[in-house]
Every structure is written in C-alpha cells, then in structure tokens.
C-alpha cells in the first residue's frame, strides 16, 4: 500500500467488448474504461452482479481474454505474453475447475507440484489437513466443495504473488471457508501477495477484504478500503433544495434518497435529514436500484 511498493496488477482505462453473435451492431460492453491498481498485501473483494465483468476482468489480467484498448500490467509484464517466471508467481482458481479426472488427490498434486519450483510442501500438507482432504481419494469422486478446496491448495501452495480467485468459496462449508480465509491472510501478509477475489457472500467479503471493488456493467463504481467504505459512503435523506458539496460523489439517487461517497469530507451539510452507513449487501442493493 505504500508508495514504494510496486503494483502487482494494474489496469489502465481498459475496455473490452464482446461481439454479439446475432450481428447486433454495438456488441456487449463488459469492461468500460476500467482502472484499478493492486499493491502487495491487499485483499480485494470484487463485488458485482452476475455478468458485471468480474470473471472477464480476471481473464484479462491473465491474458486469456484480449482487451480492445487500454493497458494491463501483470507482475510488471503485459498479459498477452507472460513469461514462465511470471506465470509461476500467479495463482488462479476459475469458477469451474478443472481437470485431473482419473487422478487421486496425491497423484494430481504430484503432477501439479512439478510445474512450480517454489511449491511449499509443508504448506500443502498443512492445508490438506485443514481442509480435511484424504489424498487417496479420486478427484472425480470429490464433492464440489472438496474440489474447490483442492483447487485452492493447487493455486496457493507456491505462495503466488498474485492470486485471482473467481468465487472461490461458493461451495465451501462455513468451517472450510474460515480455514481458507486464514490461509489467504497468511499469504497476503506474510508473503506480501495481492489477492483479488470475487464473491457474492458479502459477510465473508466484509471479514476478509482490505479493499472492496464494486463493478456495475463493466464500470468500476467504487474502489475503497473497506473501513473507509463504511465511514465515507452514506445513504442520505435530503430536502428537494439541499445542495450537496462538490466534493461528494453521487453514486445513485432515488427521489430524496441519495447514495454518496463523501470522499472524506465530514462537514455537516444543511438540509440532510438523515444519514446512514450501509453494510455491503445494503450498498449493493442501493447501487442496483
């Protein structure tokens, strides 16, 4: 977070449009002038409706999807031609893992491990225990949650500098989710990694994220430290003639109810009848009215 830290991942005015198959002239905009920077130690929760562009954002960072304009810097390189060294420092768990059918867990791990020179076997063993996985089991017989746990181990046991997790916890039970969150903190804080993870479970996001990024239709509406989010984003009830300061950013408005980002301006504003802090779920709902 300090200025001397080099960004782990940087998006600069990135645009991406998916061409429609039914020849509609415009196409479907998935990312719109999106800029975001992740520094070491950040755990960024990515929040947005289905189809808002969360998965696309991650795929663009990895070079799986090309962008139309703007630029992306992934571990100091361009994602279109990431070096092997860079790839070995990235962990990614897509929404739908993943191969290794026909393997047992230990055979799958043995193969996977061979791709990563920095693999930490002690960490792997520790997490197998934490997630309560039996290594002699066949991968295709695992439950969805167990597969997800294995995918997490496979993406995290080499302590990647950049970790991208697309809905990593959706199928985990509450205990496994907590285990995973602990593992993620260790990674972010001890190894100085940056984590970007999407989830619809806002209470988990509230616990683990240091920052929250909220995208709506490909547009990054908010990107803030989570504590600042609670302190600076308010739902105001105002009079018809209330003048809000220019430093306020209005995020949405329905009649006399305004969602604002005060951006740290804590002045008392005349004409504001009521102000309320929101939790993430409430914020999410307000933004999508």
């Amino acid at each position: 977070m300090e200025a001397e830290d080099k960004p782990v991942l940087q998006f600069n005015l990135v645009n991406k449009t998916y061409v429609e198959t039914d020849k509609s002239a415009t196409g479907h905009k998935v990312l719109v002038d999106l800029s975001i920077t992740l520094y070491p130690g950040m755990v960024v929760g990515l929040l947005g409706q289905n189809g808002a562009g969360k998965s696309t954002l991650m795929r663009c960072a990895l070079g799986i999807v090309d962008i139309d304009s703007g630029n992306i810097n992934t571990l100091g390189e361009s994602p279109e031609n990431l070096s092997i060294e860079a790839k070995q420092r990235i962990g990614y768990v897509p929404q739908q893992p993943f191969g290794y059918e026909g393997f047992t867990i230990d055979k799958a791990l043995e193969l996977h491990r061979s791709f990563y020179p920095n693999w930490d076997i002690a960490l792997e063993q520790d997490w197998l225990k934490r997630f309560d996985l039996d290594v002699t089991q066949a991968v295709q017989k695992l439950s969805v949650g167990q597969r997800q746990s294995l995918a997490l181990i496979m993406a995290m046991a080499y302590r990647p500098t950049l970790l991208l997790l697309d809905e990593p916890v959706a199928s985990l039970d509450p205990i496994a989710r907590r285990q995973f969150m602990g593992a993620m903190f260790d990674l972010a804080l001890e190894s100085g990694s940056a984590v970007l993870f999407s989830s619809h479970i806002t209470s988990d996001l509230e616990r683990v994220a240091s920052h929250v990024a909220l995208i709506k239709k490909g547009d990054l509406v908010l990107f803030k430290e989570i504590d600042a989010l609670r302190e600076e984003v308010k739902l105001l009830t105002i009079n018809d003639d209330t003048k809000l300061p220019a430093s306020y950013r209005i995020l949405s408005q329905t009649g006399q109810t305004v969602l604002v980002d005060t951006q740290g301006n804590s002045d008392v504003i005349a004409g504001v009848q009521n102000e309320k802090s929101l939790n993430l779920e409430q914020l999410f709902m307000e933004l999508h009215r």
Partner: protein
C-alpha cells in the same frame, strides 16, 4: 478473554471500531484489569475470522489512546488507568442513548413515557 469479543461484519460500523469499542468497554467495566495480557493480533484475527490488518488497526488505536501498552518483545497489556483514559461507563453509552432518543422521537414517544419505560426495564433486569 477471546470469548468476550465478537464482531458483526454486516453491521455498517467498521470492524476495527467494533473491536476497539468492545475492548474499551471491557476495560471500563473492569472485566479487563491493568496489566492483563491481551491476545496477539494473530490470535484475535483467527478467533474472529477477520483480516489481521483490521485487528492491528484497532490495537494501534487502543495504544495511541493509552488504553493498551505495548513493550518490545512482550504481549500487549492493559495500561494502568490515567487521566487520559478514564472514560466513564456512562460516557460510553452515548451512541446507544442517542439512537434510543432518536427512535423514541420518531415513534412519538414522549420524554416522560421513555423515562417510565427505562425504569421498568431497569427493574426487570
């Protein structure tokens, strides 16, 4: 003391502040005495399943305000009470009181009525 702490991530209030306020309450209420050892940031973070950065922010604030003492290489301890940190129990009730008064006014409950209610509930506890 871990079992005395819990946070509600879905409240609009930042977690670091919830944690800070709870520890202050424990100190003012006497459940935590001067020289009592506090759990480490790591233990707290693990117990509450929250980001350790959040815990460390709360602890830093407690240290800055003189509630907690940190000596090199030792666990954090509750500081001796000084003039700087002698907030009373009653002053810590201010947020709840203002919320209560606000709601009473919204519901049209008069001051006298509220006073009566307060008395009833006090005697029930």
């Amino acid at each position: 003391m871990l079992e005395l702490l819990n946070v509600n991530p879905s409240s609009g209030e930042p977690i670091y502040r919830q944690l800070h306020d709870q520890i202050v309450r424990l100190i003012v209420g006497g459940q935590l005495q001067p020289e009592d050892v506090l759990p480490s940031v790591r233990q707290l973070a693990e117990h509450l399943a929250v980001n350790p950065m959040t815990v460390s922010r709360a602890m830093q604030q407690l240290v800055d305000q003189g509630w907690v003492e940190r000596r090199r290489g030792q666990p954090s301890r509750v500081a001796a009470r000084t003039s700087a940190n002698n907030a009373s129990g009653s002053s810590l009730l201010a947020p709840q009181l203002s919320a209560l008064v606000e709601q009473a006014q919204q519901l049209g409950v008069e001051y006298d009525e509220l006073q009566q209610l307060l008395k009833q509930f006090w005697q029930k506890e």
